[in-house]
Every structure is written in structure tokens, then in C-alpha cells.
Symmetry: C2
Subunit: 527 residues, 2 copies
């Protein structure tokens, strides 16, 4: 957000007017591609602009955008019953989106929640804003005001709404209504906080980590574990936010989610026939880890993960049906996806199993960062398209800006990792504009993907070509590092890394905002 300067702001907010000189500053690797493909792309862009203009004319406004993104799901669990059947997941409505829309087979995210969400919202890899790990109660940090979100880019040309899990932190400038969204109901942290951070006695069944504190005679510091935290906020742009829920019982957590989902539907209904299009970021609190619902189980996998997905899939079906009922389906892009790979640490025997790829949440392996992802836009996106072009979640930022006819509002004073992938959406397989991904874990560059090749930096031995090279087409589980076959790639990947780092030196990272939490809020009770 950059309209109001909050007292917690460490980086001075800049006005939009000063930012828009020159082209978007991409990472160096994109420039390599643009140099080789720029002429072709320019031609394609002209035709895409014509197409988008024709669509705007037809519908009287730019397209609505619905971005649905949930937690922790492996590639290969959803999209087709052939996958559902062997993984125990049930997702008929998402499968229908795959059949009638587009399936991405190389959608990359960041390896965990906050980082992926920041990349989607800002078009920048989270390392650039210091948002490098999931923020937990009470971290006293959050998304800097100087970051420009997609809601700020689309700005007054769109109605913008955000619902459920932001995970952007607990300082005032990170609140969603302070980051450009007109209307937001958001949780500052993740589902663990919402379900597991309350002492057992009060929680009525929720798991918690600190019941022992209450009884242990050795627990001299009763303040070590977070207690005075706040969870869910309702906010409207320019107004003070309100705490609306900090669950004590698991039932309160479910009530909050149900209420937020209801607001999602109301948001769509309210803006369906408005003069302006809408941007709806619905990042639901799925997975619900402790559920009183779905008894008996509705999915063969029977886990919190599959049961939550079952409920979410049903809701996604309802959202698609709602856009059809309201007559806006043909002017609405819906993107549904997970935010990172499966979390395999909790309840490893049943919660989320590994799939086609090796690794899961927080890994730099494909299993950590390659997610199920689908897009639906009847009449615009080819029915049943399956695209294998590389997409990074940050690309949604730039692509949404293009669709909203607001490329000029993307700031020009910083690196924008997001690449405009409109050509992929509209022209299909082989029309992507990215061939690489820089995979970070926290602040560390752990791996680089270029084309079908991947180099692991994490764990590599310095001083020799090592064995950290993989051909993902041949070895999708990254089980057989190869050396001789990749000696050619040793300098090639070194150069990529050097170019990437030079760009960082030229456009330095913004530090994460640290400050007093929960300011600028009406709280339900004093903390």
C-alpha cells in the first residue's frame, strides 16, 4: 500500500506517479529470453491487446478475476479421477475445471505459505521484501507498505476483495485493507494458530502445544508461549480494522471460515453487474486440521487434507455455478491452485503422502514447489488445454495487471519477477514466456530450474561441478544427480546465478517491516 503512511512504515511509501517511467524491470533471466523472442512476442502482444480490447468492448469492462489458492497440496492428487482414485482425494468440481479449462503442469510456487502469497500479491519473490517464512503469532513483522500489491495496481478500476488467509503478518501496514484491498476479511497467520494455539482447557478438543505450562512446576516463564495474539480481521480501505475472530474453540474456527465463505459469495453477487470488474482473492483456510464435519468421511484418503479439499471442491463448484447464474462466467477468469507442496511433517502416516514428485512443503525439490493449478474462463481459455510451460505464482500478478489493462501501474523502481503470461492463457501450450525459476528457502537460493534442467545448490559440494544436476523430464523425482552429462551446464547455471545476484545488487531487497503488532485495530478484548 502506498496511499497512507503508517507510523510503522520503515520504507517510505512512494506515490504512483513517480514510478512509471520506462519498461517493467524484470529479473535478468527474463531479459535473456526477451532478447531472443522479443520480436515474436511484440507481434503476439499486439494481437492479444486486440483480443482483450474486443473482450472489454463485448462485456463493457475488463474481466473479473477470481484467484482461489489453498494450502499444501501435491501435484497429481486432483484434476482427474485417474489421480483422485489412487490418492484417495475427491475433487469432481476441480476436475470439471480441468476438463473445461486449462491445466498447468509446471506451476511453481514458493515452498511455503507466506512466501507464495507474497509472490502472488506483489509479483516479487518474497526474498525481495523479507517475507521469507510463514509468520506466526506473535512475530511482530509483516509485508512492507512499500510493496505494491495487485489490489493497488488494479486500484480504482476494480472492486477488490480479499477473504480468509493472508498470512502477511501482524503489523498495521501489512493488513489487507492497508495493502490496497477495498474489502478484506483476513487471518494474519496460518491455520495452526487458528486451531492449535489455545490452551487445551479452553479449546474443547483442539490440539495445543502448551498445556504443560499450566501444570509444570518448572515453567517459571509463563510468558514464553504466545497468548495475547489476534487472528482474524475485517477491514475496509481507509478505515480502521476490526478483530472479528480469535478462535478459542475449534467450532469458532469453523464458524469464521463459514462466515468468510458466505462473504465471498456475497462479494461476487454484489459486484457482478457493477460498472467495474472485480478482483477476488479467496485464499481459504483449507486445510482445516480439526473438523467436526464430514462424519462419516467423504474421501477415501480420510485425512484432514482430503476432507478439507472435498469441502473446498464443493465450494469451488458453487462459485463456478454462481458466476454462471449471474451471467458473468464468460467475463471471469478463475484460477484455482495450491500454495505449495504437501506438508509431510504432521501425521506423516496419513496426512499428506508424497506423490509423483519427491519432497513436500518447504523443500526445494519439485514436490515442494510444483502444485496442482487450473484456470477457467469459458470462451477465452481453450477447453481441456494442458500446458507444460513454466509458470511461477508471481506471474499471476503481472498477468492480472495485463488483463485489467493496468500494466502502467506496475512500479518501475524495483525488480518484478512476475512475467506476463497472458499469451499462455489465451494462446495455449507453448506460448509461455518463462523458462526458469529461482527456488529459495528462506533467504537462501537453494536451486535453479532452467528448461527441463535443475541444479541443486543446497547441499552441493563447493569447488567441483558436483553432482547436483538433474534432467526433470528424465528424472522427475530428482533421485539420480548426474555429473558428466551436465558439465556443460556448470558455467551456464553459474552465469544465471551471477546475473540474478547482480540484479539484486542493483535493486536491493526491501527489509521486512518489524514493529508493534495489532496497532490500528479495534480489538474484541484488551490484550
Amino acid at each position: 500500500m502506498f496511499k497512507i503512511v503508517l507510523k510503522t512504515t520503515l520504507v517510505a511509501a512512494t506515490t504512483l506517479a513517480t514510478l512509471q517511467a520506462g519498461p517493467i524491470i524484470h529479473d535478468a533471466e527474463y531479459n535473456i529470453l526477451a532478447a531472443q523472442n522479443g520480436e515474436k512476442w511484440a507481434k503476439e502482444d499486439k494481437s492479444l491487446d486486440d483480443k482483450l480490447a474486443a473482450l472489454r468492448k463485448k462485456h463493457g469492462k475488463a474481466p473479473n478475476i477470481i484467484h482461489i489458492m489453498w494450502d499444501d497440496m501435491k501435484y497429481g492428487a486432483i484434476g482427474h479421477p485417474m489421480l483422485n482414485n489412487v490418492t484417495g482425494y475427491v475433487s469432481p468440481n476441480i476436475n470439471k475445471i480441468a476438463t473445461n479449462g486449462m491445466t498447468f503442469t509446471r506451476m511453481y510456487t514458493e515452498p511455503s505459505c507466506t512466501p507464495t502469497r507474497v509472490a502472488a500479491a506483489t509479483g516479487r519473490q518474497p526474498v525481495r521484501s523479507g517475507m521469507i517464512f510463514p509468520i506466526f503469532p506473535i512475530h511482530e513483522m509483516g509485508l512492507p507498505a512499500s510493496e505494491v500489491t495487485i489490489a493497488e495496481v488494479l486500484d480504482d478500476d476494480y472492486h477488490t476483495g480479499f477473504f480468509e488467509k493472508s498470512h502477511f503478518g501482524d503489523v498495521e501496514e501489512s493488513y489487507l485493507h492497508n495493502q490496497g484491498w477495498d474489502e478484506a476479511i483476513f487471518t494474519m497467520y496460518n491455520q495452526f494458530a487458528g486451531q492449535m494455539f489455545t490452551p487445551t482447557a479452553e479449546a474443547g478438543g483442539m490440539t495445543t502445544g502448551w498445556a504443560d505450562d499450566e501444570v509444570s512446576p518448572y515453567a517459571l516463564d509463563k510468558e514464553f508461549r504466545p497468548k495475547k495474539w489476534v487472528w482474524a480481521i475485517e477491514g475496509f480501505e481507509g478505515k480502521k480494522g476490526k478483530e472479528i475472530s480469535t478462535p478459542v474453540k475449534v467450532s469458532e474456527y469453523h464458524e469464521f471460515n463459514a462466515m468468510a465463505y458466505d462473504r465471498v459469495k456475497k462479494f461476487i453477487t454484489k459486484h457482478a453487474s457493477a460498472d467495474k470488474p472485480f478482483l477476488l482473492d479467496w485464499w481459504p483456510n483449507a486445510i482445516e486440521m480439526f473438523s467436526e464435519e464430514n462424519s462419516p468421511k467423504q474421501t477415501p484418503h480420510g485425512s484432514a487434507s482430503s476432507e478439507s479439499l472435498y469441502r473446498l471442491d464443493k465450494q469451488i463448484g458453487e462459485i463456478v455455478a454462481l458466476t454462471e447464474k449471474l451471467g458473468i462466467a464468460e467475463n471471469t477468469l478463475i484460477v484455482v491452485m495450491a500454495d505449495n507442496g504437501p506438508m509431510q511433517e504432521i501425521w506423516p502416516e496419513t496426512y499428506q503422502n508424497p506423490g509423483i514428485f519427491r519432497g513436500g512443503k518447504n523443500d526445494f525439490l519439485e514436490g515442494g514447489v510444483r502444485v496442482p493449478a487450473f484456470a477457467y474462463w469459458p470462451g477465452v481459455i481453450e477447453k481441456g488445454a494442458v500446458v507444460h510451460d513454466i509458470v511461477h505464482v508471481a506471474d499471476l500478478f503481472t498477468t492480472f495487471a495485463r488483463l485489467g489493462n493496468k500494466m502502467d501501474a506496475i512500479p518501475r523502481d524495483r525488480v518484478i519477477d512476475g512475467i506476463d503470461q497472458t499469451s499462455l492463457l489465451l494462446n495455449g501450450d507453448g506460448h509461455g514466456r518463462r523458462d526458469h525459476v529461482f527456488i529459495y528457502q528462506g533467504a537462501n537460493l537453494s536451486a535453479i530450474v532452467k528448461q527441463q534442467y535443475k541444479r541443486h545448490f543446497a547441499g552441493a559440494r563447493a569447488g567441483l561441478a558436483g553432482k547436483g544436476f538433474f534432467d526433470l523430464d528424465k528424472d522427475p523425482r530428482e533421485e539420480h544427480p548426474q555429473m558428466a552429462q551436465f558439465l556443460w551446464a556448470w558455467p551456464a547455471f553459474d552465469h544465471m546465478k551471477a546475473r540474478h545476484e547482480a540484479q539484486i545488487k542493483k535493486y536491493p531487497h526491501t527489509p521486512v517491516t518489524r514493529g508493534e503488532p495489532y496497532t490500528g485495530l479495534e480489538l474484541l478484548k484488551e490484550r
Copy 2:
């Protein structure tokens, strides 16, 4: 075969007439299901009989059956571009069969070539005929004459043809034209023999295991390695077979395969408008491990496995097109499938990677015995059906007999493992009649599957419930054995095993035929 008694026959062949008293003898576990579902099934069967009779009337004959089965492929590589893209395989024609036909998500085979092929041909798990491992040159053994193949069951009511890889052994009674097929071009062993068993000097590029013998001064026994072996035979029922190819150069191997494929097309064309329907078993010599073709590579995976599948997929497309061109598509069932999981021992870094399931060829894990499988029968099989009922490859035997209206010809003096799955083909998901699989490795019962549960016997600790229990819906990779959750299943699986073993005691196994190889053949040269 049971029409002519060959001198190598150890078990006396029985005439058909003496066999047909009473119902088919299934394994005990099927009887458990029949007792619970028999009434419903009887009703369903009546309606299925009516449907099949109506189809016979419409087309003037029973349906043609084309069974295409190739080597070593993991579940999850083919059937949809979503899978192709991440595994590097390319299979547009098989994917089209999946889209327009039926996808099986729980098709079980035996864990290796000979066993699976015997199960398909005889409807009996291979342990019952001693065909428990892949037969190699010069094993001097093969399929007993007393086994009754699907070609013998369909008999004179069908034109029966077999092409390419039988793997049924090298004794006279195992030859395909002595086992009921009217016309056969078959290789007695597997592709390794065809491509790798010739000394390097002669082979012109083929890999071999024994070039060293020629030069080592310590190789006193020059006869230890097989040299005087025979590979491919052409045979017509009632006539003496002819050796037609024993490749020395890899080019001869490819020539043989091309010739056999040509004969496949000729067989279909010849019998398309015949009074009788045809059974075509085309079990191609795919994978070709050493190929001069496809240069540059046509598949991202780029392995012998994926390149072979690419060629085979093209041919499968041609076969489907041929049935359409000849106007027989609506009276032809086409089943395409692999014979077991991927072989991970050779060239493990590139040849065949693990997939969704753990394990590969010759494992009792799902990765060894759960294969990609699809069926196509326009107008009869529901378009795009995805069925999760358990099917075992032996079920094809009984199902084909039912479709051919020849259930009476199935012998009644032995256990038939194959369960009639016509209801599944015609009525779709949830209409299967099997809920279990006994998984053998050689002569050992290594695991039992019942519903979504699986118990490993191989490696289990005796005398305690152990930890060998898995819920495949929750843990498809069989990585987290569970104990407390499965204490109920300890006796239940024990009972299954006991019932299975009691049935074996009642109907003992037939020993494999052992004898002089290559009798009853015209050889290309003296051995």
C-alpha cells in the same frame, strides 16, 4: 492346449467334454463375495446377457477382441497429458482411448512378464501352472498342455491370432499354435534375448553379457552361456512351427517386430468381414531396448522405454483407425495395458523411474503390480469412464469368454482365478466383482490385497501382528505400515490366506512342463 497330446506332456490332456459339469471353480475368496452379492449379480447378469445377445444380433456375431499388452510401465505415465508432461512420456493415442473409453485405476497384474501373460491366457494365476518366472534361453520348460487358454475356449467360434511376445517357454506344447491359436508369430523368450544374447562381434552394437568369454584364458567352459537358442516362431494350429528369426544384429530384431506388426494389421483386415469374430492377442516386443530409430528423440524422457512407447502408441492409434476404417469399431473391444510395473534395475537413472506407487517390476508393492490399463468399445463402454474396481489380469480370460458366449468352455476341473468383469465393462464404475488380489513373487505369496487394505507377508515378522498392514487409500506408496489400526485385520487376512491355501490343497497346482526344447520345429539352421 488339449487336442493333441505331445510327447513332452507331463500332465495328461483332458478332452473338453469331460470338463463342463457344474459351475466354474473360483478361488475361495470369490465365493465369499458371491454369497453376499449373488442375487444382485444374477439379476445384473440377466440384463447383461440380453445386452450381449442384442449386440450379437446387431452385428451378426460376437464381438472381436483385441488385447494389446506390452512390458514394464508404471501407472501414472500415460492416459492424460497431465501425466505425460511430468513423466516425459508421449501417448496421444492411448490418451484418446482413455478419453473415449474406460480407464482402470486398479488393474493388477502379476509382477513380471511370463506370470502376467500366463494369467491373461489361462485365467489362472501362474503359480497354478508352475509358470512363476520369466523363462529365458535355454530354460527347457514352458506352459503345460493341460492349461486351457482363451484361444482354446473361444476355439472354432473365433479366428484367433497371436503376435509377438508370448514368453511361454521353449518346449513344444507351449508353442502358441499348440495352445489354441489358429495363427501365431511369437517369441518364446523376452526382449533381452532378442537384443542382448548375441556375442558383441556379431551383434553390431547390441549389448551382450559374454563377449569376455571369447578372450578370457580362464573361460574353460565355453558352453556355460546359452548360444544355441531359438527366438521367434511362426505357427499355424495343427502344423509344425517354423523358426523365423533369431536376431544376431539389432536391425534383425527391429525387422522382426516390424514384420509382426504388419501381420497384426493383416490379421484384422483379413477377418474384419468374416462370419466369425476374431481374438487378437498382440503383445508387442515393446520395449525395444536398443533402437536405431527416433533420432532425434521424440519424447522428453528420451529413454528406450518412452521412445518405444511413443512408437507403440502411434501403432495403437493406427489399429483403432483401422477398426474404424473397416467398420468394425463398434463390435470390437480393445484392451491396452502394461504387463507389470516399471523395470528399475537397468539404467536406473534414466530408463524407468518410480512413479506414484513405490516399487517396480518383480515387487509385490503396488508399483510392481498396478499398471496403466484402458479399454475401448465405442457405443458399449461409456466414454470417459474411470473405474476404481479391482481387476486382475486373469479376469480378462473369463470376461473374454463371456463376451464370446463361451463360458461353457471354461474348464471345471481346476481353479479359475479370472472373474467375469463384463458388468464392469458394460455398467461402469462400482460394478466390478473382485475385491481382492493374491500377490505372488515366484511361488511365494508375498502380499494380499482386500478392498483398500493390504498386508505384506514378505518380510513380516512371524508370531506377532507385526506392522505389515497398509491402507492404500491413505498410503498409496506403502511407506507407513500400521499396527494398532489393523489388529482387527490380523485374523481376517489369516482367514483369507487359509481359504486360498485350502483351495490349492483341493485343486493342486500343475507342475510346469520341462523337456527337450525346440522339438516340433523347422529350424533356420541346425543347433
